[in-house]
């Protein structure tokens, strides 16, 4: 029997071991590639991690003669334990150079060297390794940390009105990992146990907090439902592992020097957990526990975090709240660019405006550094440089077909016109997108949802000045040609029937009032690069294209009115 476990509010200790036979362990490890697994195992054996990831070693024998006996003990063991750390490190290093299956490594870890269980810390490391291997595996939503108005000392008043966002505050929120964690722990309800692990992103200026949540009140191994004890290899009979199955992992990323945080969508560890109706999840009770499996409850877990995180960031007399910024993507690079820290200036100057923000703009052209300094007296477009610019422009654009064309010496008149048109389109695209929205820049969003609430064009004869309607029809036509443009963007126009069905009769009289809900979803590996390609290909009219199609607003969800995204307005304020 397990010793008496008292429910506490403490967090799950990192040293807590999970029984290796737990399917969750296998699931976590199996996601990784062989190479990653081996690196991970070597990381575990590293001196810094050893305290929390001690492998199972053969107990030191009292004398040399005991060898024979030991051999007997592990004789039928497929993965016999080694005697020392060095030997183990050597083993994994040799596995690295050798070819073999992933399964072999997993077996070695689960049944051999960590047969007494993997600690939560190790599992966290494995999960984070997966995140590095698959950077787009998480969908991140960016939130802005906003200062709240200092509330009055009167408690009753405080309860009555929710704190307001202090628009005029000049405070930039500051973040200190360990304090934050301590405060966050206090926010988590006592019937939920969480394991926290901070990690520094290897390449990006980010700190990632992995929160692993169990709905168990115990912070001992009881919570993990595995009875493995520290004495060698003896295991008590395992109970069902349901608790572990309903566990969830949430990542929170803190970009350096930035008032934003990114929260990933909560992920269920095991996909096999039963799903219940979403209706029940909206109740308040579900909000508090929030650990079950439905989509709605995943949201409520997020809600829990959204409540808990600002509280954890706040300090006495300095309170913050989180405000969604309508940007959700799988691409951390894009997030850092848009909602990043000190050195990113593109946040509120996307699309064509990025020429004002792009630090490296002139460097790429082989000119020395910063051309924007007022001490430089050379004209921005000096004389005697036209022909060079022209050549550059021609060579730069999209590629291969271009080169072939130019190689052909005689150009017919129509071809020449074609050529001119293409050049013009490229210039237009350059004006609208500047240096953003390029296919290879690795800063793509994969989904953009736009709801258009503009007035319906009153009559076909009336030349409507709004270009939103024409452009949306252009974009729908583009889906037919998208395959030709090696462009994976697909667009669906879904005319909402909410407004149209009810007001179709009234629409006759009050035409200007009728605003059909048109929902556009752009979907692809790099949406705005796709739109740029369509502009360059002449499918979208680059000059009439509304601004939100260039991605300059920096949102992935938006409502368009009067041809502009409402609310956000791209000012980043």
């Amino acid at each position: 029997m397990a010793p008496i476990s008292i429910p506490t509010t403490a967090r799950l200790p990192s040293s807590l071991r999970v029984d290796p036979s737990n399917p969750a362990v296998f699931k976590i490890l199996n996601r990784l590639s062989r190479a990653s697994l081996l690196t991970l195992a070597l990381d575990w054996l590293d001196e810094r991690n050893l305290a929390l990831a001690a492998p199972y070693l053969r107990p030191p024998s009292s004398s040399e003669y005991d060898d024979e006996e030991d051999e007997d003990e592990y004789a039928d063991d497929f993965n016999p334990p080694l005697r020392s750390l060095d030997a183990l490190q050597e083993l994994y290093t040799s596995l690295q150079s050798r070819k073999g299956s992933k399964r072999e490594v997993i077996d070695r870890i689960i049944e051999g060297d960590w047969r007494h269980g993997l600690t939560l810390y190790q599992l966290a490391m494995a999960d984070i390794q997966y995140l590095y291997d698959h950077p787009t595996s998480q969908k991140w939503a960016a939130y802005r940390i906003m200062p709240l108005k200092p509330v009055s000392t009167n408690d009753e008043e405080e309860e009555q009105q929710p704190p307001e966002i202090d628009q005029e505050s000049l405070v930039i929120p500051r973040f200190h990992p360990s304090t934050f964690l301590k405060n966050l722990q206090a926010q988590v309800p006592p019937d939920v146990k969480a394991h926290y692990n901070f990690d520094r992103h290897r390449t990006l200026p980010l700190s990632i907090l992995r929160i692993f949540i169990l709905d168990s009140p115990y912070n001992t191994s009881l919570g993990l439902q595995s009875g493995s004890s520290s004495s060698k290899g003896t295991r008590t009979a395992r109970k069902s592992t349901t608790t572990f199955d309903t566990s969830r992992t949430v990542y929170i990323a803190f970009p350096d020097a930035s008032p934003y945080i990114y929260i990933s969508k909560p992920q269920l560890l095991s996909g096999s957990a039963p799903t219940t109706g979403t209706g029940s999840s909206t109740t308040a009770a579900a909000k508090v526990t929030g650990i079950n499996t439905t989509a709605g409850e995943a949201k409520s877990l997020q809600h829990l975090l959204l409540v808990g995180i600002p509280a954890a960031l706040s300090r006495p007399r300095q309170r913050f709240c989180l405000k969604p910024t309508n940007l959700a993507t799988r691409n951390l690079n894009e997030l850092l660019d848009r909602r990043g820290g000190a050195n990113t200036r593109q946040g509120a100057a996307g699309g064509g405006w990025s020429i004002y923000a792009d630090e490296m703009r002139e460097k790429g052209k082989g000119k020395k550094g910063n051309r924007e300094t007022p001490l430089d007296t050379v004209l921005p477009s000096p004389p005697l440089s036209e022909e060079e610019n022209e050549a550059e422009g021609a060579g730069k654009g999209n590629g291969k077909g271009e080169g072939n064309k130019r190689a052909e010496p005689p150009l017919s008149l129509s071809a020449k016109r074609e050529e001119r048109e293409r050049k013009r389109r490229r210039l237009v695209a350059k004006a609208r997108f500047a240096d953003t929205g390029l296919v290879g820049d690795g800063k793509g969003v994969e989904r953009v949802d736009i709801i258009i609430e503009d007035e319906f064009p009153s009559s076909p004869s009336n030349q409507h000045s709004s270009s939103t309607q024409p452009s949306s029809s252009t974009s729908s036509s583009s889906s037919s040609s998208s395959s030709r443009d090696r462009d994976r963007d697909t667009e669906r126009d879904t005319p909402g029937d909410r407004g149209s069905s009810s007001s179709s009769t009234a629409e006759k009289q009050k035409q200007e009032e009728w605003r059909p809900t048109v929902k556009l979803t752009f979907h692809g590996s790099h949406v705005f690069a796709g739109i740029r390609q369509l502009v360059e290909a002449g499918i979208i009219d680059g000059e009439k294209m509304p601004g939100w199609m260039t991605g300059e607003e920096g949102v992935t969800v938006g409502k368009v009115r009067e041809g502009r995204i409402r609310g956000n307005k791209g000012s980043g304020l």
């Binding site: 202090d166 628009q167 005029e168 505050s169 000049l170 930039i172 929120p173 500051r174 200190h176 350096d256 020097a257 930035s258 008032p259 820290g341 000190a342 050195n343 990113t344 200036r345 593109q346 946040g347 509120a348 100057a349 064509g352 405006w353 004002y356 923000a357 082989g366 020395k368 910063n370 924007e372 300094t373 007022p374 001490l375 430089d376 007296t377 050379v378 004209l379 921005p380 000096p382 004389p383 005697l384 440089s385 060079e388 004006a431 609208r432 000045s465 709004s466 270009s467 939103t468 509304p546 601004g547 300059e552 009067e562 041809g563 502009r564 307005k569 791209g570 000012s571 980043g572 304020l573």
Partner: protein, 321 residues
């Protein structure tokens, strides 16, 4: 390119290419120097009539283009001068968005920051006038845009009054500068109801305050760099050397200090570089045992210094002595 060892021909091409780039940039510099010299200006404005003094090969078209470039150069020189001396300059931009408010007219604010001996890339704030809605419609000069601007209910009641009120449209201010707070203070939106009395906008105050924040930020960063340099220059023999200093927060107001023996500390800087507080903690490596404040180390580091620059000076003098 694909071969691991480039052939001598490739190397030569590469070096020639770099030479071309250098020569081209030299040419550009020379051109602008010649164009902006007073003698060139006078020559271009009234070319000598006598045939001997007339430079060869100057046709009227060339003269025209030269004049054009000279005037461009003059304007550019003047702009550079303003940018250098006034550091806040304005310019006008056309919003490429066909649905942009106010016909796409955008006012740009360019803020130069001079720190660490050079001009940083300027910061831009681009503002538009979304509150001009009502007046434009009435004027009836809706050339493609005016007709759609009736969405702004806000200023309908008081047409024209807020026509010139600005709002930040795009900007390149880093997030560590509280632009939104400043904008809310100095560039408030018109009141929601016409009868309400709102505050006036003050663009000048806004620009000055914003520039102040930016310059402060850059100077704080520069101070941290100085501190780091001073530490690197410190004598090796020094016992318990500071190993690293890093800015710990977005605004570069807090500095993390790491000592060689594992102690860590925090230095909190005020807005203008004055020392607000310094704390050093006994780390795991310290002899003090446990964690607590180590006032001695702090005294050794800071002494009588009131500003971070004083600390830098102390460290530097320590190396000399």
């Amino acid at each position: 390119m694909s071969s691991p060892t480039p052939s001598p021909l490739d190397i030569e091409i590469e070096s020639l290419k770099s030479k071309i780039t250098t020569l081209k940039s030299n040419l550009r510099i020379q051109t602008s120097t010649i164009l902006s010299s007073p003698s060139t200006t006078s020559l271009l404005s009234n070319p000598p009539s006598s045939s001997q003094l007339k430079p060869k090969g100057i046709t009227p078209t060339i003269l025209k283009s030269l004049r054009h470039y000279a005037s461009l150069q003059k304007a550019h020189n003047q702009q550079s001068l303003y940018r250098t001396c006034a550091t806040i300059t304005t310019f006008r931009v056309q919003d490429p968005d066909p649905n942009a408010v106010d016909g796409g007219a955008v006012l740009g604010l360019r803020i130069e920051v001079f720190a660490r001996g050079r001009f940083a890339r300027p910061y831009y704030v681009l503002m538009n006038r979304p509150f001009a809605a009502g007046s434009r419609k009435e004027n009836g000069k809706g050339t493609g845009n005016g007709g759609k601007e009736n969405g702004k209910e806000k200023s309908r009641g008081k047409k024209g009054k807020y026509a010139n009120w600005l709002r930040v449209h795009r900007h390149t201010i880093p997030p560590c500068v509280p632009l939104s707070g400043l904008a809310a203070r100095y560039l408030p939106a018109p009141p929601a109801r016409p009868d309400e009395q709102g505050r006036e906008q003050d663009l000048v105050k806004f620009a000055r305050r914003l520039r102040r924040e930016l310059v402060r930020y850059h100077h704080r960063l520069a101070t941290i760099t100085d501190l780091r340099k001073a530490i690197l220059a410190e004598a090796e023999s020094e016992t318990n050397k500071i190993q690293n200093v890093t800015p710990a927060d977005a605004e570069a107001k807090q500095i993390t200090i790491e000592w060689e023996d594992g102690q860590t500390g925090r230095l909190v800087m005020g807005d203008d570089g004055e020392i607000v507080q310094v704390v050093a903690l006994n780390g795991s490596g310290g002899q003090g045992g446990g964690s607590g404040r180590d006032r001695e180390v702090v005294r050794e580091l800071v002494g009588q210094a009131k500003r971070v620059e004083d600390v830098v000076r102390r460290l530097r003098s320590g190396t000399k002595g």
